[in-house]
Amino acid sequence: MASRSSALVRPAAFRSVGRSVLLTLPIALWSLVMFTPSLRQAGRDSHIGAVVVMLFMTTLFFLMMRTGETYRWRRIFFVALGFLFPFGFIAALVVQRGTMSIPISRMVSGDTPFCFMVTPSIILPAAFARTIIFPGSILPTASNHASIAIMIGLWFALTLVLGKAWCSYACFFGGIEEGFAAIAKRRRLHRFVTKYGHILRLIPWAILVFVVLVSAAIFEPVYCMWLCPFKAVTEFPAVRNVETAIQMGIFVALFIGLVVVLPFLTKKRTQCGFFCPFGAFQSLFNKIHLFEIRFDREKCVDCALCQTSCPTVALSKESIREGKTLLNCMKCGACVDACKKDAAVWHLKGTPVAVKPERARLLFLYGAWAMATMFGGSILANSVATMLHWLPWK
């Protein structure tokens, strides 16, 4: 294995091809297992979609192994997921009901796919009143596989193992803003974000508490009904009166502001870092799971490259001085890849810091990429199949 120490320019090949292929084999096999159901489905589009995404996910993992970089390759997957998820979702809605809006009658009948974002809001009403305040069905139905039980079960199992990595490897919303952040040539508003980062990163916690309290008080998933920026590109209540028109206005304004304009200006994931209550909820799991990013203080020269590169302002000067990230770190790997002194390292809790960090990275990536393949990969495959189905010359 080539050394990564103190290289100002990262070596082109971190591992040999053979070794990288060997390390990629488990993910290739996992992808095969995950996409076998799609391969068994009738229809050439589904087969092509599954094969393309299987190769896509495996190739990206191979490149992570080969180059030693995480962020760049993860971002390709994540942005693809972010942009293809709404495409596939909207296409399915249009085919099923001819519109993106959902009438109240369909909502009441439990025909809404469960979105993990609503999870924190349903806890208190479920505990006190044994009522799930979301109009979905608890168990899967013929028309709705994304039932409440399946989505929460999956999310909980994955989060216990990987902590807030969900936000960087499985969330199908974050990729949209990461895409807009990536296309900007330079960082604007950098001084503002640096100066007020300590306040901005508290906003998701405030929104989380607000959403939990009000949802319990009025027995409605307040985030879904009023604050979700992604309603603008997925499914929203049909505009029938002033109230739903205001809701729609809020969705669109939040989407344009937090998911398009601010990420482009700041090169940060502003919705994830400064707004998302589910992200704040996920941060709690960073306390108990196994993997984290640490800083080797002997190598660190306080250049703040890691802090600048962090897409969610999960680093502060104080936290770096303590050798840790803040609670809202989503393990995207940007700081590790940006560090020219190899001071930022992957770390498995309970082991010495900066001793065999690549082993910790590997263990983490196997889990995270398996989750990405299972969750995001299947969404990507469906979206690719839909795109092929809709090709104009077919």
């Binding site: 006190f128 009143a129 607000f210 009000v214 319990a216």
Partner: protein, 223 residues
């Protein structure tokens, strides 16, 4: 016989309070949580503040009990002024949260001395009894569902004292559900925690303000 009817009525009120307590907890939570979280740490201090809050809430209950009995009408559905009252209370709650949880009038003095007002956002203000009393009274007369149920029953009782006693026992039943709020006194008050509590208070003030204005506009349009 009157003794039996009194104990039956008191028992009914107590059980109603206990049974609907979680709804009271959920309805008052948005006011109590941010307001308590901006107070300094300490269970004793929280007990005192919560005690004042509950006393003011009881006063609100008594006023409401007297009003429903004197009006001899079932306020919940038939009373035409209900929307005005609800809208007005929500606007007052919004103002109460801004004044007592965010502490804007207090912050003006602090900001004058500080280099940056945002630096001061995390400091906990001194506890104000008037905040407990105002917010407690407003939540006491807020027309939440269990309260309306109790109001219907109290309006049917034969005397004003019976109506007041009904609400007293109903209040006693709901109070048990407020005890968990004392645990907020154990949470360490870092500047981040107080800042988040203040942000929550602002968000909730916006929510109550929006809700109050919506109710009033709807009432004004539809009569």
């Amino acid at each position: 016989m009157p003794a039996l009817s009194f104990s039956a009525s008191a028992g009914e009120a107590l059980v109603l309070g206990l049974a609907t307590g979680p709804v009271c907890l959920a309805t008052c939570g948005p006011v109590v949580v941010p307001w308590l979280m901006v107070q300094p740490q300490g269970v004793r201090l929280h007990s005192r503040q919560l005690g004042l809050f509950l006393a003011a809430r009881l006063a609100g209950y008594m006023v409401f009990a007297a009003a429903v009995w004197l009006a001899a009408a079932a306020i919940p559905h038939a009373w035409t002024g209900r929307s005005w009252l609800m809208g007005g209370i929500e606007l007052l709650l919004a103002a109460g949260l801004v004044v007592y949880a965010v502490g804007w009038p207090h912050r003006r003095c602090v900001a004058a001395k500080a280099t940056s007002s945002l630096v001061q956002i995390g400091d906990a203000p001194p506890p104000q009894p008037s905040g407990a009393l105002a917010l407690g009274f407003l939540t006491g007369i807020n027309l939440c569902p269990p309260f309306l149920v109790a109001g219907v029953r109290a309006a049917q009782l034969p005397s004003l004292s019976a109506s007041l006693l009904f609400f007293l026992f109903f209040f006693a039943g709901t109070v048990v559900w407020f005890l968990p709020f004392l645990s907020l006194g154990l949470v360490r008050r870092t500047p981040a925690v107080v800042t988040v509590a203040r942000m929550v208070a602002v968000l909730l003030a916006c929510w109550y303000g929006f809700s109050g204005v919506s109710i009033l506009i709807e009432r004004a349009i539809h009569g």
